[in-house]
Amino acid sequence: MSFEKEPFNQISPSEFFYRNRDLAGFSNPTRSIYTSIRELVENSLDACDQNGILPNIFINITSVNQQQSDPKYYILTVSDNGPGVDPKHVPLAFGTVLYGSKFGLKQARGMFGLGATMAILYGQITTNTPVHVNSSIDGRNQHEYEMLLDIQKNKPIIIKHVVNKTKKKGLAISICLEGDYSKAGSKIRDYIYQTSLITPYASIKFHDPKGNKYKYDKITKSIPRPPTITKPHPYGIDVETLRRLISETSYKIPNLNKNILEKINKELKMHNDDHRNSNDGKIMKAIKKRWSYLSTQTKIILAIMSCLKLNFDQAMQIKVDDIDIMNNTLTYLDYNKSKSFTIKLDRSNFYYKYLANEVKGDSLSIFLTKQFQRVGRHTAEKFAEFAQFKPEKRIMMMTNQELVHLSDSLQKFTDFLSPDPSCLAPLGENLLRQGIKKFFNPDFIFVIQRKASAYSGFPFIVELGVAYGGSIKGTKLYRFANRIPLLYDESSDVVFKIINDIDWNRYKIKNDSPLIIVSHICSTRIPYKTVGKENVADRNEIERELKLALQFLARKLSSYMSKKGKAAMEKKRVDLYFTYIPLISKFCTELSNNLQEPNYKKIFNEIN
C-alpha cells in the first residue's frame, strides 16, 4: 500500500450542485423543465406571500426552434408582481449558489432559495446561454441583468446591466434551457392547475409552447396571514445547532473603536475632552457610580480597561483574544507591538469578577428561556432537574460531553409545550373551501383545519377538505404540502395511507363515489420521503392529525349522505303516490261504473 498524497481540493457549492444536479430534480430534460417552473413559481409566490401582495404570476414557455423535436431548447419566463429583488443583490441572488433569505425558521414553499439558481445553472450548462433577470423594487426603475455563473468560483459574471423605466414592481426571470415539453406538459399543467387550487388568492397565467393559454384568476382577495420567524423548539435541536446557538448568543469581547467610544461617553455622560481633563480616579468614580445603568458592552470594555490599567486611547490599540477563567489570565494582541501578551489577573478585583461572570455565559435556565420558544423559567428549572444539571450551570462552561447530554435530554424531556405554530401559514378553512368550490363545483363541501401539532420539534398543521357530488366524477385525492402540489408517487404518501385505512363503508361511501379529498400539510419542515418532494413520510403525529381530520369530515359527509338519502327516499315516496293513485282512480272508475274519475287530487295534499 502506498501513501501517495491525494490532492484534496475544495469545490464551490455551484460545482457541487453541478455535479449532483439530479439530487435537486434536474436529472433529465423532462424533469428539469418541470422542476425549473416549480422553483421559479414557488419563489414568486413565497415573495408575494411574505409581503402581503396578491400574486399575479405569468409563466411563458416558447421553443427556440418550433420545427425541432423534443428534447429541445425552450425559453422559460416567469414573472411576478412581487416586491422584486434589490438590484444590488441580484447578481449574488441569481449568480451564486446558496445565497438565499430563507434560513430562518418559518414555513415557506422552498427551503433555502436554492431552486431558482439551480434552474439557472441547469439552463446554462445545457444551452450555454445567460440568464435574464429583470427586477424592480420601486415600480419606477427596472434593472435588467444578463449574466452567467462561474461554476468553479461560485461567482456571477455580469454580461449586461441596464436600467429601464417601468411602471410595475416585480421580478421576471428568463432562462433558456433544454427540456421536453411534450413529455412534461401534462405534469406542468397539473402543477399549475393544482397550485392555483391551493393558492386561490393568486392569478396564474400560463402560455405553453404549443400556443395553448391557461388562465386561473384569483377567486378571493384575502391573503392568509404571513408566517412569522420563530426561535427553535427544544425537540428540533441537535448538538451542532446547540453549539451554534451558544456561540451566536454568548458575549463577544468587543474591540473599542470610535463608534463604541461615543456610546460609552454617552452612557457615562462625558465628552472626549473630559478624559484628558480628568484624572483616572475621577473617571473610575464616575464609572462606579453609574455602573448599574451601563450596557453590557460598555461594562465589558471598562472592566477590561480597568484590569489592564489602560486608558481609552490605549484600549483602542488592543484586541482581547481570550479570557481563561481557570487560570485567571487574559490574552491580548497589541496592534502597536504586533505581539500577544498574557497577563495574570487578580481574582478578587471587582471588574475581573464581572468579566469572569460574563465569560461564563448565561446560566442554563436563562439560556433555555432566552434561546428557545415557549420555555419559561419554571420549565427550564424542571428540565435542569430532569437532565441533572444545576439550573445555574453556566452554558459556556459546559464540556463537550455535557453538551451532548444536554442535547439528548432536550429531546427526552416531555414537559416542553408543543411548538409555536405562528411560524406556520395554513391556508385557512375559508380559502380552502372557496378554492374547492370554484374548482370542483360540488354538491357538498366541508373543510377542517386541525389545531397545530408537532413532530420532533417541528410544528405542523393539517388542513383537509372533502367535496362530493356536483360536477365531480370519480374519486381523486389532491395532496399539498406548504402550498405545493404533490403530483406523483401518491400511493406511498401518508395521506393516501390514511384514506385507505378508513372503512368508508361505515360512512356510507361507496367505492368510486364522486369524491374529492384535498389535503394540505403545513410545517416548518415537511418530512418528505424523498428529495423529489412528492410524498410525505408517515410520522405518527401527522398520521394522527390526518386521521382525526378525515374521520371528522367523513362523519359530516356521512350525515350529508343520509340526509340526501332520506330526501331521495322522500321524493321516491311521493313519486310512487303520483304514479299509482291515478291508476287506482282509473281502475275503480270503471269498476264502479262511474264515468268521471274521482277527485283524487285532495289526497296529495295529505302526502305533502
Binding site: Y580, I584, C588, E590
Partner: protein, 360 residues
C-alpha cells in the same frame, strides 16, 4: 239451470262493483282506500268440522294504499278486480300467465308470474270466490268423459249443447266447460281417476256404460276447475263421487283434497265434495290384491307423518290406511293391476271396490 249461472255472475259482478264504489268514494273524499284481506297464514287456517273443509279464521290484514310498501300491491289488486270485471262482462277467459302479461298493458308491472298469481289469490280471498269465477284459469287441464249433456254459455256458443261421450279422448275441463250449464245425464256415478292412462283404459273398457258413470281424469292433484265440476255434478245432478288413486300417501291426499279441499284454498268454498269417497288403491289393498310394490322414499314417509297431524286424518279409513302405509313402507301404482291382465282393474277390482263403497 241457466238462471243459476247468470245469477252467480250477477252476484260476483255486484261484489266487484261494491269494492270499486268503495275505492271511488274514498278517493273522492280524499281518503286513502284500503282492502281488508283475510289472512292466509297457517295460523289462520282452521279445519271446519261442519263444513268438512279448511277455512280461514277471523284474522285479516289491511292493504292500505297510504302505506308506501303496500301501495304497489294495492294498485295491482285494484287492477285485477278491474280486469276480472272486464273478463266477466265480456265473457272472456284468461290464464294465469295471461294475467301476468295483460298487466303490462295497464302500466302495472308484476315482477314475475308468482307475484301476479299471489295477487290473484289475494283477490280470491277478498271476494271469497275462486279465480275460475273470475274467468281466470290455470294452464293445467284435466278431462271428462261420459253421458252428460251440457249447454255452453261462452260467447259464440250460447245455447249450443254437447254430449260429453261424443269424443273418446274426453273433453277438456276448460273455461267453457266450467261455465256451461249441466243439462242432463244418464249416469248414476262419477269416477275420478288420478291418471290419464287409466282414464283412457276406462273409456276403452266402457266403464261409463258398464257402471253408468261419468269418468274424470284429475291428472294428479285435481285442478280447481275439476274440483268445481265434481262439486257441481254432485250438487246439481246428485251424483255420488268416488275417487281412484295410486296406492300411496299422495294418492290418498289427492282424494282428500277433492273431498275437503286444500289449505291453499282455505279462503274458498264450493270447491269440495265432502261426500266423495276414496275407494282405492288402499294400503290394505296392496296385500289383499298382492300388487307389485315399490319401496317408499324418505319423503313419502315424512309426508305420512305430516298428514297424521292433519285433523282430517284422525279417524276411519283415512287414519287406518296411513297407518298401514307406515307399517308396510311400500306403495303400488294403479297400473300394478296390469300384472294380472290389462282389464283386471276394470273387471275385478273396480266392481269390488264400488260394492264396498256403498258401505263407507
Amino acid at each position: 239451470m241457466r238462471y243459476k249461472e247468470t245469477k252467480k255472475n250477477k252476484l260476483l259482478y255486484d261484489l266487484l262493483k261494491n269494492h270499486g264504489v268503495k275505492i271511488y268514494e274514498d278517493l273522492d273524499n280524499g281518503v286513502f282506500p284500503k282492502f281488508l284481506i283475510p289472512s292466509r297464514s297457517t295460523r289462520n287456517i282452521i279445519y271446519d268440522r261442519k263444513l268438512r273443509q279448511y277455512v280461514l279464521g277471523n284474522s285479516a290484514s289491511i292493504r292500505n294504499s297510504k302505506n308506501i310498501s303496500q301501495l304497489r300491491s294495492f294498485t295491482q289488486l285494484t287492477w285485477l278486480a278491474f280486469f276480472a270485471n272486464r273478463l266477466i262482462k265480456e265473457k272472456k277467459s284468461s290464464t294465469l300467465r295471461d294475467i301476468y302479461y295483460s298487466s303490462q298493458a295497464f302500466s302495472i308491472d308484476f315482477e314475475d308470474q308468482p307475484e301476479s298469481d299471489n295477487i290473484i289469490v289475494d283477490l280470491e280471498s277478498v271476494l271469497s270466490r275462486p279465480r275460475e269465477d273470475l274467468h281466470i284459469f290455470p294452464e293445467e287441464r284435466s278431462s271428462v268423459f261420459g253421458d252428460l249433456v251440457i249447454e255452453y254459455t261462452v260467447p259464440g256458443y250460447e245455447g249450443k249443447r254437447t254430449n260429453l261421450s261424443d269424443h273418446p279422448d274426453g273433453y277438456l275441463i276448460g273455461p267453457s266447460l266450467s261455465s256451461a250449464e249441466l243439462i242432463e245425464t244418464s249416469a248414476d256415478l262419477v269416477i275420478a281417476i288420478e291418471k290419464g292412462g287409466l282414464f283412457t283404459r276406462f273409456v276403452e273398457e266402457q266403464v261409463d256404460k258398464k257402471f253408468k258413470s261419468i269418468i274424470i281424469d284429475t291428472a294428479g292433484q285435481a285442478p280447481r276447475s275439476t274440483r268445481y265440476l265434481l262439486r257441481r255434478l254432485h250438487e246439481e245432478l246428485n251424483l255420488p263421487v268416488v275417487i281412484l288413486t295410486d296406492g300411496d300417501v299422495y294418492g290418498e291426499h289427492i282424494a282428500m283434497v277433492i273431498k275437503s279441499g286444500s289449505a291453499n284454498a282455505a279462503h274458498l268454498r264450493e270447491l269440495t265434495v265432502p261426500d266423495a269417497k276414496w275407494i282405492g288403491v288402499w294400503a290394505s289393498d296392496i296385500e289383499k290384491y298382492k300388487l307389485p310394490t315399490i319401496p317408499m322414499t324418505e319423503s313419502d314417509i315424512k309426508r305420512i307423518h305430516d298428514l297424521k297431524k292433519d285433523p282430517r286424518y284422525q279417524q276411519g279409513i283415512w287414519k287406518n290406511e296411513l297407518d298401514v302405509f307406515l307399517k308396510i313402507k311400500r306403495k303400488a301404482e294403479l297400473e300394478a293391476f296390469s300384472k294380472y291382465g290389462l282389464t283386471n282393474i276394470t273387471d275385478k277390482y273396480l266392481p269390488q271396490k264400488l260394492e264396498m263403497a256403498k258401505s263407507l
